[in-house]
Amino acid sequence: MKPETVFSGAAASGGKAFGIAAFWGSSDSSIVERAGGTEAQERALLAANIQRAKHALATLAYAQDKDAKDIIGLQIALLEDDTFLEPVFARVKSGMKADIAWETHLDQEIDNYAGSEDRHFQSIAHDLVDLKKRMLRLIRESPHSQWTSVQQTNLILLADDISPSDLLSIDRAALSGLALIKGSLTNHVAVLARGRGIPLIVGCPPAILFISNGSPILLDADNNIIAVNPDGNRQINMSRPPSKKPASPRIIHKADAKGSHSENRTVNICLNIDGPEIIQNIDVSAVDGIGLFRTEFLITDGQLPDENEQFEIYRSVLDWSRGKQVVIRTFDFGGDKVINGLIADQNVNPFLGVRGYRLSRMYPDLFRGQLKALARAAPYGNLAVMIPMVTAPFEMSEFKSEFQDVVAELGHQHIRCALPKLGMMIEVPSAALTLDRFDADFYSIGSNDLIQYVSAVSRDTLQLDYLADAWEPSIYRLLRECVSVASAKNVPISICGEIASLPKHIPNLLDCGIRSLSVSPGQVEVVRHAIGQWHRRST
């Protein structure tokens, strides 16, 4: 039996999972081999990734000096050169996988220039190596080219990092746990993992990428360890067996919660969701509705659902909620949630750039389609719609009149619709500091962004986790202010950020006067418990 090896990291989503090692996008290693598709699929994969590489290179070149632009310009020109690409497509046609065809052709070209007598031509080989790697990474990390030489269930995914959309593209049933070298405790991957009950350890040593593919692994995020070839004792101590079906978050009924039913009624607990699937196994009577539906995660395979599909989705959530409020947030792309092709992301700092409502304004057709779907769904329940990333009061009035226009237009066409409550997220300090100027039916504090904007600490930088608590006094003062402005205006205010899901922050939030928390489904139980303790302490 192989000896046990233990790695450690920081738990970003709790729980334990037992499974086998699998790798994501290991383009530079041969840990996994990508299984090819049909000839047509491989050709499409190659063509699509040539476009993606061109787009990425153009974005990369955008803010660079002339020399850098020229260097990148060569790679772009090669990707536009049919003569250069033709042999790759010919290899795919003869049955080669897209990545192998690319690698073989580029290696030939690299040898051609590396063997040149002239150093100027030799140096072209370096550019070709760069281009080779970029494309291999893209092809091998495509959402459709994964999990090929490994079994399809109980996977413990080991990776350098993963994007939120890539995480969502993995079948939840296949994934038991996640360990990342990068990652952060608070970014969207962490949020998604917690919401789905997937144990996640971040900040792992790079050596995790050298774990043999298929090795048995115990990922114990409650104790911050990853045990490879775990010994028998450890396995016996597993608190739950490996689950083969998607774990439905365990939510205990209000009446069963620790602390009496009556004392907990003073604080609302709603759910943060990313789509209709996660609530299928949740009894609505256990919660007070949906506090945040992140609609940007409805994207699948790079496609957003159209107006009718959105309408069906929104209506299904309203049906589920049986009259309890459902807060749907309009698309919040940008920041670390990038949708390919929607925007040439030329933001030097995406978190301060075109994102959230700012991005929706730039795509009026897309935005109007979403508003129509929401207006049509509104008659089916208690709907509230909010926009993210509000900086100035006029954005809120603009959003309201846009929504009223949509309702009027649908009305003219005799399409059943209604105007929902219209609210805003409090994420930008300018809004939090002058909330009285913002006219909305409700406010929802997006504490993740608010914290990073107030503290100037990026939530994707694990090295800055030592500043993880530095925001507390400033944010709590700000929140107290927001709650008092909201109550003076008689406007409901709630919080949907990650801190509302973490028991250690809950007493402070309640002390600030917040009485409505929207939390990850997996956290309802612990949040309710924390609220109960706060009640007991304060009475």
């Binding site: 020229d70 260097i71 310009g73 060569l74 020109a77 090669l78 536009e80 050169d81 049919d82 003569t83 250069f84 070209e109 051609n112 040149s116 002239d118 100027h120 031509f121 140096s123 072209i124 550019d127």
Partner: protein, 92 residues
């Protein structure tokens, strides 16, 4: 009406027709409708001037001559433009 124009020029760039000049030449060639081909003057092997990889792969070094041939409605303009670029030493 299709014109056929041929001319030649000597490359004066110290690095020859390496990456950057090749990108410029092929980009320029692509702006014309004519078929444009290049060959080293001492070697009758013609390649497509609109293909960056083909231009670069000629590996023309400083002091070597290239022949330029264009066939098409804008052949004259195309050859003149490419000669101009070579004369300006690719604006390097």
């Amino acid at each position: 009406m299709l014109d056929e124009i041929q001319s030649s020029a000597v490359i004066h760039n110290p690095a020859g027709l390496h990456a950057r000049p090749s990108v410029k030449l092929s980009r320029l060639a692509k702006t014309f409708a004519s078929d444009i081909t290049l060959s080293p003057v001492d070697d009758d092997s013609w390649i497509d001037a609109k293909s960056i990889s083909s231009v670069m792969n000629l590996k023309i070094r400083e002091g070597k001559g290239i022949a330029i041939r264009a066939i098409g409605g804008d052949a004259k303009l195309a050859v003149e433009a490419i000669l101009g670029l070579v004369e300006r030493r690719f604006e390097e």
